[in-house]
């Protein structure tokens, strides 16, 4: 019965039990070392972000000092003369992003609602896959495609149509150009549709079926159910999704750099060329030197500030939803 002599199995046989021995110091130290290393890796994100802000702001400081508030209130950008006013770029960033939202939000919501509420099962997978594909396309590819395909095929004719039909309104006044706020906005829209639609889809999916049945039970049509039960429930989350899309549009660089038309002045008409903050950095960096580079860094700092505000707002909304 006691054939298998085990140190712990033979207590009843009278052999003294082996006391519990703590792990050697190494085991315990390895444990706490690991947790410290993990915590440091986590904190790295905070360090990097802080370092990002400090380093760029520090480099840009001479420009901020020299230009003062006129850095963001003036639209005189003449690096040769040392004039650095970026209002035209801020304006262009906001206008192109706004155009992108105007186009992308209804399309994204349409897709999201369609996929969750309407689409037959078999078609959901392929559509989701194809829309997600848009998110995988690098922005430089969008830019190339935008300049050489979409510009002659759609952007230029559409700009011309807009200004010939609505040209009496200043924001559509000619002479129309496809390389414009409008052109950049359209391509931006294509780029953010997958972001907004994917996030909205997730949010709409979390609306409980009970809410839907409740609306149907009151005799609602499907659309009335969506408007009455689904959208109100998901509103905060959808706003968050839209703001994340906006954040992406504000910071998008290459596609805008290729399509916005590169005019350093403010144009009231959306079918006229302009610039954006990110685009001016990408386009002028390679030829810049000295203060000009510092000014481009300063543009980046302002861009960072704007996107971070939008992003934090969006995250707070989404997080509040999740809790």
């Amino acid at each position: 019965m006691q054939s298998q002599a085990k140190p712990l199995g033979d207590i009843a046989g009278g052999i003294a039990p082996v006391p519990i021995e703590n792990r050697k110091g190494v085991g315990r130290r390895a444990d706490s070392l690991f947790s410290v290393v993990a915590a440091l890796s986590g904190s790295l994100v905070l360090l990097i972000l802080a370092f990002m802000v400090l380093s760029t702001t520090n480099t840009a400081l001479p420009i901020f000092r020299a230009e003062g508030i006129s850095f963001v209130t003036s639209s005189d950008w003449h690096p040769a003369n040392g004039d650095y006013g970026i209002l035209a770029f801020i304006y262009g960033t906001l206008v192109t992003s706004a155009i992108a939202l105007v186009i992308a939000v209804p399309i994204s919501l349409g897709i999201a609602i369609y996929l969750v509420e309407v689409a037959p099962r078999w078609i959901k997978g392929p559509i989701t896959y194809l829309v997600d594909l848009l998110a995988a396309v690098p922005s430089v590819v969008y830019g190339l495609w935008g300049v050489f395909v979409l510009l002659p095929l759609f952007l230029q004719p559409a700009a011309e149509l807009l200004s010939s039909v609505l040209g009496f309104i200043p924001i559509f006044a000619g002479p129309p150009s496809g390389l414009s706020y409008f052109g950049a906005g359209v391509v931006l829209a294509v780029m953010i549709v997958p972001i907004i639609s994917a996030l909205s889809r997730e949010i709409i999916q979390t609306v409980p079926d009970d809410d839907r049945y409740a609306a149907y039970a009151l005799g609602a049509t499907r659309w009335e159910m969506i408007r009455g039960a689904v959208l109100p429930r998901g509103r905060a989350g959808i706003v968050g999704a839209v703001m994340l899309g906006l954040g992406r549009a504000l910071g998008e660089t290459i596609a805008v750099a290729l399509l916005v038309g590169s005019a350093t002045t403010i144009n009231t008409s959306v079918v006229r060329p302009g610039y954006s903050m990110a685009a001016v950095i990408a386009n002028q960096f390679q030829e810049a030197s000295g203060d000009h580079i510092k000014a481009l860094v300063a543009v980046g700092v302002v861009l960072f500030a704007i996107t971070i505000i939008v992003n934090i707002g969006a995250r707070l909304i989404v997080w509040r939803m999740a809790d």
Partner: protein, 289 residues
């Protein structure tokens, strides 16, 4: 008999609204699918027209005007920088995710890290490039390390958040099984939790790689670009596929534009392969669960 039910049918106006709304959704889907088709079609068509063995194996000629040549310099640069960025960001990102999920949990530091990781995914990539430029390129010069650093910063939050989601899915029972066998916390995390989450984490990593491979703006400010094939990690500028495509798209010469199309095809193929791999890994791990 059916009179009562019919009399409470929705009015014609309500039914029409319903139909119009449904049609609107279908239009939205179509509007999103048109660019997908246009992009795939033109990149394939124009890309294949300019694609050749020479394109894949030769560097870019010194003048845009000259036909021939290829993007070998960019391909090598992209490979080096993405590999370095992955090597840096994946271990750090996974460790950070382990911290969030296994140690920090709902504590203030973990919540802070979580929040700012999310925020960091929204930082414009061009700003990341500016940061690396001001902090490292100014003192040390352009180079592969600098580009890789920028790409690593872009990848890091993506890896952290996707890895954390995957660690979250590891059942508590597995951890308990491990602890009950006398495993320490670090043993449990490294030998049970991490291997169980690995397929999912791999998916996130592959997507982050795809994202990094397509980044242009940060590389303008850190790698700068070069027409030379180089494998130097530091001390001289290096090229990348997106940089060469950007140059091609900006220049007025047909030869340069053709190379840009072939480069776009090459880059898109790379990115889609990684995206596809990510999906395959994700699907596989679902089956084995």
């Amino acid at each position: 008999m059916n009179l009562e039910i019919n009399s409470s049918r929705p009015s014609a106006r309500r039914l029409w609204t319903n139909r119009v709304a449904t049609a609107g959704m279908a239009v939205a889907v179509a509007l999103a699918l048109i660019p997908v088709g246009l992009i795939l079609y033109y990149i394939t068509k124009n890309g294949l027209a300019a694609m050749s063995w020479g394109f894949l194996t030769e560097p870019t000629p010194f003048t845009f005007r000259r036909p021939g040549g290829g993007f070998l310099n960019g391909l090598i640069g992209t490979a080096i920088m993405v590999a370095l960025a992955t090597a840096a960001s994946v271990p750090l990102g996974i460790l950070a995710a382990i911290y969030l999920e296994e140690y920090g949990k709902r504590g203030w530091l973990a919540q802070l890290v979580r929040f700012f990781s999310d925020v960091m995914t929204g930082v414009p990539s061009v700003f990341v490039g500016l940061f690396v430029y001001t902090a490292f390129v100014l003192p040390f010069g352009f180079g592969a390390i600098m580009g890789a650093g920028a790409l690593a910063i872009i990848m890091l939050p993506i890896v952290i958040r996707s890895a954390e989601e995957m660690l979250k899915l590891v059942p508590l029972e597995l951890k308990h099984a491990s602890f009950a066998l006398g495993a320490s916390k670090s043993q449990t995390v490294l030998r049970v939790v991490l291997p169980s989450a690995l397929p999912g984490i791999t998916t996130g990593v592959l997507l982050a790689v795809a994202r990094a491979a397509g980044e242009t703006a940060p590389l303008i400010l850190t790698a700068l670009g070069s027409l030379k094939v180089t494998t130097a990690l530091i001390g001289e500028p290096i090229s990348a596929l997106p940089l060469l495509i950007f140059d091609g798209a900006r220049n007025p010469f047909a030869a340069g534009q053709e190379r840009a199309w072939a480069g776009a095809l090459e880059l898109l193929a790379l990115v889609l392969i990684f995206t596809l791999l990510a999906r395959i890994v994700a699907a596989r791990s679902k089956i084995s669960r």
